[in-house]
């Protein structure tokens, strides 16, 4: 456990769509430099959780504290400017803009520190495509572009939504390494993932969700032995 104060504290988060309770009182916290894995069957509320923290919608109950301050009333762009960002499960690049412009939008509107979008592209491995329209990238390149866009805002908390899906083993391990290196630089990460193997390589702290509730919290190895978790994954 990190001795510092947590960067993010989530307490009793609630969100429902019509009759469906997508989040039903989820609580957890993340510290700077820490990676928290978030797993669970389809529809268990993982992405909803990311949406709630990043401000895609307002929650119906509970509190989200970032650096000790409640932020659940802030619009998404304000949270981004405070240092929260995310990637999308299905990449959502600005298809009609060039790769460079995609990153530039984020770099310009982040406010504060100057960021060179080309450096970020080099780091992520898309520099050679800088002037191509984002439309022409393949889907894993678009995923990388989504990550680049998020990085351009210099996040202190990064929410990663199923970035492993669709990557080949080589890409997977380099992605895992990449995420770990961000954490080593002090970034806090919440990594939503289906692939347990990938999670295993990224972190050892895990949260398992089912039907909007926290099912399990603890070490990955323990999770695989937990009967509720096994049931949720196999029986759900």
């Amino acid at each position: 456990m990190s001795p510092e104060a947590p960067i993010l504290e989530v307490e009793g988060l609630k969100k429902h769509f019509g009759g469906l309770k997508a989040l039903d009182g989820v609580s957890f916290s993340i510290h700077p430099g820490e990676i928290l894995g978030l797993a669970g069957p389809n529809g268990s509320g993982k992405t909803t959780c990311i949406n709630a923290i990043s401000g895609v919608f307002r929650v119906d109950g509970g509190q989200i504290r970032y650096l000790g301050q409640p932020i659940q009333h802030l619009p998404a762009y304000r949270r981004v400017r405070h240092g929260i960002n995310r990637t999308f499960q299905v990449p959502r690049p600005f298809l009609g803009l060039t790769v460079l412009e995609n990153v530039m939008v984020a770099a310009t509107y982040r406010g504060g520190r100057n960021v060179n979008p080309r450096h970020i592209l080099e780091d992520i491995g898309l520099a050679e495509h800088a002037d191509r329209p984002a439309r022409s990238l393949n889907s894993s390149q678009q995923k990388m572009l989504g990550l680049a866009r998020a990085l351009a805002t210099h996040p202190r908390l990064l929410l990663v939504d199923e970035i492993g899906a669709g990557l080949n083993p080589v890409e997977l391990s380099s992605m895992a390494e990449r995420l770990r290196s961000y954490a080593e630089q002090g970034m806090a990460l919440l990594v939503v993932e289906h692939l347990m193997d990938f999670l295993d390589r990224v972190t050892d702290r895990l949260l398992v969700m089912d039907a909007g509730n926290t099912l399990f919290s603890g070490k990955l190895q323990q999770a695989t032995e937990d009967s509720r978790v096994i049931e949720a994954f196999l029986g759900g």
């Binding site: 895609v56 619009p75 600005f94 412009e101 939008v105 984020a106 509107y109 805002t153």
Partner: protein, 306 residues
């Protein structure tokens, strides 16, 4: 200075020279006036549609609001027409502010709701119960300020303003953010873009241009009825011109208007009896054989259009 700004400066210069000197060799000032008006409207529509992807079918509502705003300032406040044009722009911005909640809607819903708003505005203005304010169906008459030359230069100024505005937006970080909003609003807000605010600003700028143009049009013709300035035809024409020229650029709306409105007038003079038929056919053929607008022709050849 971005490249777009330089190209815009060139377009501004050409437009200015054209509309200053063509009246010396071509007498029909009204046609030139209408041409400038449609160009300004096309640019104004492009600010909201081309840059953010929201297509307001009822764009003419701002035009009408501007015409009436200006006319009321002249009638009741006895202001000079130049001030009245600004009032007209303000009236359109006011209407735009009232309509901001419509951005909760997407795609066709936004378009139709905006159309409904324009129609509702028309029926309000034309209602005989408001005769003491708007003259209701009896229409506006402003012989006291009739000054076609003054209105002509004002419209030229508005056109140049719309051009400079469009060029500035396109070359600036504001324009980049608008493009991001058009492509994907959610990703835009995840890039730190205040989507609601920027979209509202471009919406109000778009309304402003239409309002200024409407007020100047009202001043230029000096007698008009509600259906003259709220006629759906004006909005439909503007949309057609922008789409034909190519959205999201500075040059597209200008060239689109020049060619299509030019053709419209040419056919009207040369074959008045087949006017509508020929014009309709031209549009159908253009869409089928040039679906992405004129600008796509240049883009296909690798030319970057400002």
């Amino acid at each position: 200075m971005p490249k777009t700004w330089r190209s815009t400066a060139v377009i501004v210069a050409i437009t200015l020279l054209t509309f200053v000197f063509v009246p010396y060799i071509y007498n029909n000032q009204f046609l030139l006036f209408n041409m400038m008006m449609y160009m300004a409207l096309a640019l104004g529509l492009n600010i909201i549609y081309g840059y953010t992807g929201y297509l307001p079918f009822g764009y003419v509502g701002f035009f009408g609001a501007g015409a009436y705003g200006g006319a009321l300032a002249i009638t009741f406040l006895h202001w000079s027409p130049y001030l009245a044009v600004i009032v007209g722009g303000g009236a359109a911005v006011l209407v735009g502010m009232i309509l901001i909640p419509l951005f909760r809607l997407s795609g066709a819903y936004f378009s139709i709701a905006n159309l409904a708003a324009a129609e509702a505005l028309y029926y309000i203005v034309a209602n005989p119960h408001l005769e003491s304010i708007t003259q209701g169906p009896y229409g506006i008459s402003l012989p006291q300020v009739y000054d076609p030359n003054g209105a002509y230069w004002t419209m030229l100024f508005i056109l140049l303003f719309a051009l400079v505005l469009s060029g500035f937006i396109r070359g600036s970080r504001f324009g980049l953010a608008l493009a991001a909003i058009r492509e994907n609003p959610l990703s835009a807000s995840m890039s730190g873009v205040n989507v609601v605010k920027l979209r509202s600003i471009s919406w109000l700028l778009s309304a402003l241009v239409a309002g200024l143009a409407g007020a100047t049009f009202g001043w230029y013709i000096s007698v008009f009825y509600p259906e003259t300035v709220f006629g759906l035809g004006i909005g439909v024409f503007t949309i057609v011109f922008v789409l034909f020229g190519g959205i999201g650029t500075v040059l597209g709306p200008i060239v689109g208007t020049l060619i299509l409105y030019g053709a419209y007038n040419y056919i009207g003079i040369s074959t008045p009896q087949y006017f509508q038929l020929v014009y309709g056919l031209i549009i159908v053929l253009l869409v089928l054989f040039l679906p992405n607008g004129l600008v796509s022709l240049a883009k296909r050849r690798g030319i970057d259009v400002p």
